[in-house]
């Protein structure tokens, strides 16, 4: 099981971002390196990549606030 988390260095701690769109669905098979979501903070976009291949389980829906370090999904082999 591999965590998919918002990177700690994407933006200053304290402010919230949000996942603007999931590019995969819960339960999809993903390949390592594929973009799984777009994340927004203060008009800047970030791309969330799948760290490994496997089946993704999404915990945080789009448009909900997220902070650096937060685990938003997991990938099971």
């Amino acid at each position: 099981m591999t965590d998919v988390a918002i990177a700690l260095d994407w933006w200053e701690d304290g402010s919230e971002g949000a996942i603007s769109a999931w590019l995969v669905d819960d339960g999809d098979r993903v390949e390592a390196g594929v973009i799984v979501a777009e994340v927004m903070n203060e008009k800047v976009s970030f791309e969330l990549f799948a760290p490994t291949s496997g089946i993704i389980s999404i915990f945080v829906p789009a448009e909900t606030p997220v902070v650096p370090g937060q685990v938003v999904a997991r990938i099971a082999p």
Binding site: S20, A21, L23, D28, R29
Partner: protein, 343 residues
Amino acid sequence: MTETTSKRRLTIARAMSEAIAQEMERDPDVLVMGEDVAKLGGVFSTTTGLLDRFGPDRVRDTPISETAFIGAAVGLAAAGMRPVVELMFVDFFGVCMDPIYNLAAKQNYFSGGQIQCPMVLMTSVGGGYGDGGQHSQCLYASFAHLPGMKVVIPSNAHDAKGLMTAAIADPNPVIFMFHKSLQGVGWLGTVLGAITDVPEARYEVPIGKASVVHEGTDVTVVGLGLTVHHALDAAKQVAGRGVSIEVIDLRTVAPLDRETIRASVRKTGRLIVVDDDYLSFGVTGEVIASVCEDRSITLRAAPARIAHPDIPIPFTPVMEHFVLPSSAKVVAAIEDMMEAGHD
């Protein structure tokens, strides 16, 4: 059945930058220029990653002078390069329209084919996020009306990549319009329908060919860009009441695919056109005229159109959304048209 192939869904922004990157890889004559396209990757993320990959000679930030850099792009194209130049907001066309419609669009014709213009002018269109009358316009018709240039607008990522690839390969000037609401850049809102599977390999979507994106039998609804999504939402809503809508995504404004539109209305007998550009002297009128002048088509109802009224786009969100097309307005037009037939 388990999903064995992994999906590869991209936003329109990603699809555009991927197409440009692939063509830059293939052809050293392709270059990118515009305001904030290099370091920032484009204010609408159209050129993400290109500077890092291809360097500052081929990906250039320009000064804030459309008059200068659009003219420069036209000249580069005349000299045999293939520039992809970004006009940040289509609303700014006023200061650079002469090189576009009098040079780029005419030099091939005036030179008897000796001086071509393989330029792609990509530009953001559309509003709905409170940017006011000079940053929210569409102007599809303003460009489509003038001979010598092609005008395209994708409604989804798959078509965005294919149209951009086709546009770069095209020896003619192509105005590639991308709708701000559909880019997939979070701060402009997200239209999930625009995020689609995009093949990694190179492919083209033919310019000049509309697409039937939803088949139906009762009413043909024609849209472009964002309004395709309004039409698809409306199709879902009225399906529950037994009304079957055929939705056409123009994809190309000029040259207009009249054949696909006519074939659809020949079948359904009813036409609604949805356009977020100004109402009069525009796309809606052209589509309706193209259908009405075809003697082989019998209409079951007078055509209807939904467009932005002939006023400057309001700034305050309440007023702006009051005047913009929406899926609710499309549903109302469909119901009104179906009711009119039951006298």
